[in-house]
């Protein structure tokens, strides 16, 4: 449209000027409409989204939430009822060394095929396939056999009676055997489940799109499309929420909460979280093979000060090996007091009079303010006589076979989510051979864990867990730190069921 001299004609100028003026008038209204979440699509910016399209290649609460859109577990822990409720299982029975699950009738996969016990067995086999990339195998290490007497019944036979078995199957999602076998190699290429949503696409680096499955057995969800994007940068997630690009975000930085509470289109939801944060010392590495050194680390860290100053008091330090609301907590146990002098003394006793070197690993961006917390911890440890090298790794590397789960990291900052029962933590991290995360081994402790797993009466079980907790606090292969509140930001018109287990489910959401 430009004339020969390269400028613009008067007519063009007037046209463009008018368009600009109209845009300036209408723009704010369009922008305001864009801020509200819509029934057609909810966009969630989250700091952790599945790192792999293999649905069992992780063991992390928010990522269970991703996959639960498509595939579902037998049972689920209801945090309000504080008990397990059936999802794909209708009922279950604990019969000594057998767990018998009756499947719900009328559940159909997205392909239309009915759910059968064979699908469950197929899925569990894939979960146990460590070489195939699963990180969920330890949950079934005590299972010797799986039986399918009929289409609706699955029986797990275990080496010894395990009263806490439901805790291990609560996040084990069932895929359609038929669809997986049809997909060929890899079997998860065409993932078909029974969940309220279907998987539309997955992109490496955490970009997942789900679309509603209208014939869901539990009733149609309100939101049509759910998009997850992995954004590890706090400020970027926040900016996206404030600009209307995202409808929902996790880990809102605490220092922004006061400002956001006044924001016209954003709502802040604060929930007391189930995740406990702690530092694991892998006893397979020097100097952590020495109990005195591990105690010295405990003495040198001031968790209450971190909660108060870094997290503005939104959370509480853990006394003892687990928080007070966890089954198996012992109110009599106390955390190690902050005492750097004592830490130095212990180091000297342990044979490190000039201090000792430790490498401290974490994955920046994964947890709230992790970068700051780890710097504070490192500085506190320096006062306790350690020389600390702080190393941040990308999550997949940190958590994978060359990191935590391969037993390759000597000392790291980690959070255990969905922690409602001390057994989960004790078995996963500290019982001999369950995982390589800590390499701690103590026959007495193992015995107590096995014993309580056999015990169906909660009271007796708690007593055994408390004994185990006492051993842990003496031997301290870890430094228990704190529980924090989970802080979510949402578009004001978006409703959801607030969950303390870090799962964000499209099926829990609605539009006001």
């Amino acid at each position: 449209m430009a004339n020969e001299t390269g400028g613009i004609t008067r007519r063009d100028f007037l046209k463009q000027g008018a368009a600009l003026g109209a845009g300036a008038l209408v723009g704010p209204y369009i922008a305001r409409a864009a801020f509200a979440a819509s029934r057609d699509r909810v966009t969630i910016y989250h700091s952790s989204v599945a790192d792999s399209i293999h649905p069992y290649n992780h063991s992390s609460s928010p990522i269970y939430g991703n996959w639960q859109h498509v595939i579902e577990p037998l049972v689920e822990f209801d945090t309000t009822k504080k008990d397990f409720v059936g999802v794909l299982a209708e009922s279950w029975e604990f019969e000594g060394k057998r767990w018998v699950f009756k499947l719900r009738k009328g559940v159909k996969f997205h392909s239309g095929a009915p759910l059968t016990s064979r699908d469950v067995v197929f899925s569990v086999d894939k979960m146990r396939d460590t070489k195939g990339g699963s990180l969920q195998a330890p949950n079934f290490k005590d299972v010797t056999e799986m039986q399918t007497p009929d289409d609706q019944t699955v029986i797990f036979v275990t080496k010894q009676p395990i009263a806490t078995f439901l805790d291990r199957v609560e996040n084990r999602f069932v895929v359609s055997k038929e669809a997986a076998e049809k997909a060929g190699d890899p079997w998860y290429r065409n993932l078909v489940g029974s969940g309220p949503y279907k998987l539309v696409s997955y992109q490496r680096g955490g970009n997942m799109v789900f679309t509603r499955h209208d014939d869901y057995w539990g009733g149609k969800a309100a939101i049509k499309e759910v998009v997850f994007r992995k954004v590890t940068e706090d400020a970027a997630r926040l900016a996206a929420l404030e600009s209307g690009q995202a409808d929902f975000i996790n880990n809102v930085p605490i220092h922004e909460v006061a400002r956001l509470k006044r924001h016209p289109r954003v709502r802040i939801d604060q929930i007391e979280g189930l995740r406990m944060f702690f530092l694991t010392m892998n006893v397979g590495f020097k100097p952590f093979d020495n109990k005195l050194v591990r105690q010295a680390v405990n003495y040198s860290i001031d968790a209450p000060s971190i909660v108060k100053n870094i997290f503005d008091g939104i959370g509480y330090p853990v006394n003892g090996p687990v928080g007070p609301n966890v089954i198996g907590a012992d109110p009599k146990l106390k955390r190690y007091p902050y005492d750097p002098k004592k830490a130095k003394e212990l180091l000297t006793q342990a044979g490190y009079p000039d201090g000792c070197d430790v490498q401290f690993y974490y994955s920046a961006g994964r947890y709230p303010k992790d970068r700051e917390v780890c710097q504070v911890i490192a500085a506190q440890m320096v006062k306790g006589g350690f020389r600390v090298e702080l190393i941040s790794q990308e999550w997949a590397l940190f958590w994978g076979r060359d990191g935590v789960n391969g037993g390759k990291l000597p000392f790291y900052y980690i959070g255990r989510g969905s922690l409602t029962d001390a057994d989960t933590l004790y078995d996963q991290y500290f019982r001999t051979g369950t995982t390589k995360r800590c390499n701690y081994s103590n026959p007495e402790f193992d015995k107590l864990i096995l014993e309580q797993q056999k015990t169906p009466e909660t009271k007796k079980r708690v007593a055994l867990l408390q004994q185990a907790g006492k051993i842990l606090m003496e031997e301290v292969p870890f430094v228990p730190l704190y529980n924090l509140a989970d802080i979510y930001g949402a578009a004001k018109n978006l409703t959801w069921k607030k969950r303390p287990d870090e799962r964000i489910l499209g099926s829990d959401m609605g539009i006001k």
């Binding site: 000060s305 700051e372 090298e389 190393i391």
Partner: protein
């Protein structure tokens, strides 16, 4: 005289101030740059309301003194800047001079290698190398050096190509001078003015690159104060505590401005084309 060399005076003064900061950091900084006082976190600069007299530029998110961190941060900028410029300059000049002087196969090989390096954006090579080697001061210098030597190489090669045809070189050769001697005594010294100009500009770029890499978390380890990592850590507090980003940002800006000014002034003097215009 002052007006004519103003760029050099101002640029030089800034560079000297930077050197003084870097070398004198232990005496100049009022606090230990690593010392955390969690109770004093996010204190605003002294002149603002609720500012604390103990902290002139306020404190950061872990209660560390901003002024001390900026002063100590200059050490990293300076060290990385100088070391990279010298190392890259040495390698680049050596290769460039060899390529220009000996020509043929030597020239071919050096030119091809430098073209490969030139094909990638400078920061991208640095990021790739850092991701491969991991964090650390020496890795950082190495990465920046590898991505920086080409500029020297190209310029020196070009200059040497024209210098070696000159009569004084022919004369030196005719008197029996060996290649190495002629190159070192008669050719290379004549490229010094160009090298000086490139070096100043390169230093500015390297300082910014170090800040960029530290900002991306690929520079030196987190606990060492650098301007880039201060910016990176402070940016999530940009609403609540803007001084966490403003001051390190200003430090980078002033430093790079000063060095560029100096480089510009030096070019005014050395560049014959510009000299003639005046």
């Amino acid at each position: 005289m002052f007006i004519r060399f103003m760029k050099i005076w101002v640029g030089g003064a800034i560079l000297i101030a930077l050197f003084v900061c870097g070398v004198g950091a232990p005496w100049l900084a009022p606090h230990d740059p690593q010392a955390q006082t969690l109770e004093d976190r996010l204190k605003p600069p002294r002149w603002m309301d609720s500012g604390s007299p103990a902290y002139l530029l306020g404190t950061d998110n872990l209660g560390r003194d901003m002024l001390s961190r900026i002063i100590y941060g200059s050490q990293i900028s300076l060290l990385v800047g100088t070391a990279t410029v010298i190392l890259a300059g040495f390698i680049g000049c050596a290769l460039g001079a060899a390529a220009g002087y000996f020509g043929s196969t030597t020239d071919e090989i050096v030119s091809k290698i430098s073209e490969i390096f030139l094909a990638f954006p400078f920061l991208l090579i640095a990021i790739a190398i850092m991701a491969f080697l991991g964090q650390g001061l020496f890795n950082l210098i190495f990465a920046l050096m590898l991505s920086r030597w080409v500029q020297y190489c190209r310029v020196v090669r070009g200059e040497v190509l024209s210098l070696k045809e000159r009569d004084f070189v022919t004369a030196a050769k005719a008197l029996g001078g060996r290649d190495f001697y002629v190159l070192l005594r008669h050719v290379v010294p004549n490229t010094f003015s160009s090298i000086t100009v490139i070096a100043t500009f390169a230093m500015a770029v390297v300082i910014i690159s170090e800040a960029s890499l530290s900002f991306l978390g690929l520079g030196v380890p987190a606990h060492i104060a650098t301007w880039g990592s201060m910016l990176s850590e402070g940016r999530s507090y940009i609403n609540r505590a803007p001084w966490l980003t403003i001051f390190p940002g200003m430090a980078i800006f002033i430093t790079v401005f000063g060095i560029n000014l100096l480089g510009d002034g030096l070019r005014d003097i050395f560049d014959p084309k510009l000299r003639r215009q005046r």
